[in-house]
Amino acid sequence: MPANMPPSALLDVRNLRVSFPARGQMIPIVDGVSFTLNHQDILGLVGESGSGKSVTALALMGLIDAPGVQVTGSVCFRDQELVGMPQKKLRHLRGKEIAMIFQDPMTAFTPVYTIGWQIDEQIRAHERVSRQQARARTVKLLGDMGVPDPERTANRYPHQLSGGLRQRAMIAMALSCNPSLLIADEPTTALDVTVQAQILELIRSLRDTHHSSILLITHDMGVVAETCDNTMVLYSGRVAEYGPTSALFASPSHPYTAGLLASIPPLDGPRPLRLPAIAGAPPLPQNRPAGCAFSPRCPYAHTACTTALPPYIATGPDHFAACVLPQEGTPLPTRIRNELVQESPQP
């Protein structure tokens, strides 16, 4: 489908749709998601639970094998079409070219083998190296990821490590074949804040040390603001807004992004008496309303929102929103909590 893909894009996703069968109907959980990820870029994928973030990631990896699932659209990775690629070919890419880190490193590792054994196995599955060579690389990787005493840690079982160390080992495993794309699905959600800060710093550094592009999936707007170059906000399986992180956070163009940012209790500055919460809850994919999926909760909703899908239009350089407001000439007020921005020291 995409004929003129810019040469810098590593991953180009066009109109990705993932539908699950339920009660004789096909229900699009991910409904027409498009985005590009450039080389050495960190893209944040944010949204609430059920917004389709993880399904998007699994679809990119070709990891959805539930019976009857339909994946349509196009996922172009280094000029190769991943949608419809046979599993045998995909297996060469997975782990080598595209690697994934999951939220829970305890369940992602096999509990019956040592950490080192599992990383060795991944290296030996993709490259013809001896056990000793593989182990040497494993130990070096673990060391690079900040694991203390990597030689001994490699001989330990997953349950013997702390959550932070397990996540470091997971990242080491993901990087073992120098993938050009790393998909991290909620990599720090299960960790405490002080450990989260360490892991986020490690993930940021991978761009320089391993020249990786990273797709970071999270529900935490704070994590995105600290880590990502670009941000994509998903709502009910559709892209609500996409833009450079700083622009998106400073002046969100979609009412959902604005509402999401406003409803986070502030840690600095004065305390609001009440939090400006978004009323209601996201719709279930099977009862998505006609028109904009956010319209039942949106304070700016009017007839244009409930009749047709909102246009996906540019609201700034490389900044897009799926909303009728910018087109109608009524942009959103800039960030509600401006005092937060003012208080922050200049970097």
């Binding site: 609430e48 405490d192 360490q198 603001a225 600290e226 400073a250 400006p276």
Partner: protein, 337 residues
Amino acid sequence: MKTSGKSAPILDVCDLYKTYRLPRRQELKAVDGVSFSVMPGEVLGIVGESGCGKSTLGRCLLKLTPATSGQVLFEGRDITHLPERTLRPLRQRMQMVFQDSYASLNPRRRIGDLLAEPLKVHPDAQGHKRSSAAIATRLQELMELVSLPTTALARYPHEFSGGQRQRINIARAIALSPQLIVADEPVSALDVSVQAQIINLFADLQKQLGLTYIFIAHDLAVVRQISNRVAVMYLGRIVEIGDADAVLHTPAHPYTAALTAAIPRPVTGLARPVPLQGDVPSPINRPSGCRFHTRCPYMQTRCQEEDPILHPIDDSGHEVACHFPLSPVASATHCNG
């Protein structure tokens, strides 16, 4: 720790310990000498990382888990040694809200039945058994208080979203008009937009019904939004306690400073602080001296030997357990990276 004044504290905790025996004669001190008091109508937030003992403390306060030693005085009465039968009338005055809104509701019972149960078990203020008409009226009131439609009473827990289920749990907790509610991570399983609704509901009910909360959470921003005072726990002990904004904006304990600095702000362009190194040590063999010294950037020899006790640093009730507390200026710069 006793607060003097005209009103007495609703909850007074003195030197509370909870030790779990483990195989091979090991001991896990989940709560390791905690003392604090809470005044009626106050909201005390308890924050800390996983394994710091905040949930165990919450359960010990209501005697859902028996404490190993120490006292919990509820309205001046020691409840730690009361037999369950004597404790039961007091139970209606202290309630709990848990994190997992689904696990706390029996999936096979309708919401109306779930909420009616405490009203059937406990007699009303005059000591009479409640009539079914009185129960029905109370259920209507409760639904209104937590902003759910009355039709919800005839439905089952699985028919609700996480936020709505947490509203039901809150309705059940306030059914018997308690004075004290211990909420253990009540919003951490919810999405931010829904989380804000539930935090607002907690705040509204607190004002409307004059409730006292012990609000346990790992999210400092959530705790600050709702609390008057905040206690920071590390490895079973309170390391800092005081006015919410004072503790979070001018922390005196290096751990509080590191914790507030490590939280990612939803704002771009901030300078990133140096993250704290290492993991929380195991509570089974916690470090000697100050329990934070293994990760503390200001550690000195005294910290390795002597366990600091909680002491006031000003007259506003701000207390810290540190030999070398940060000065307000130093901590403010630390926090801003």
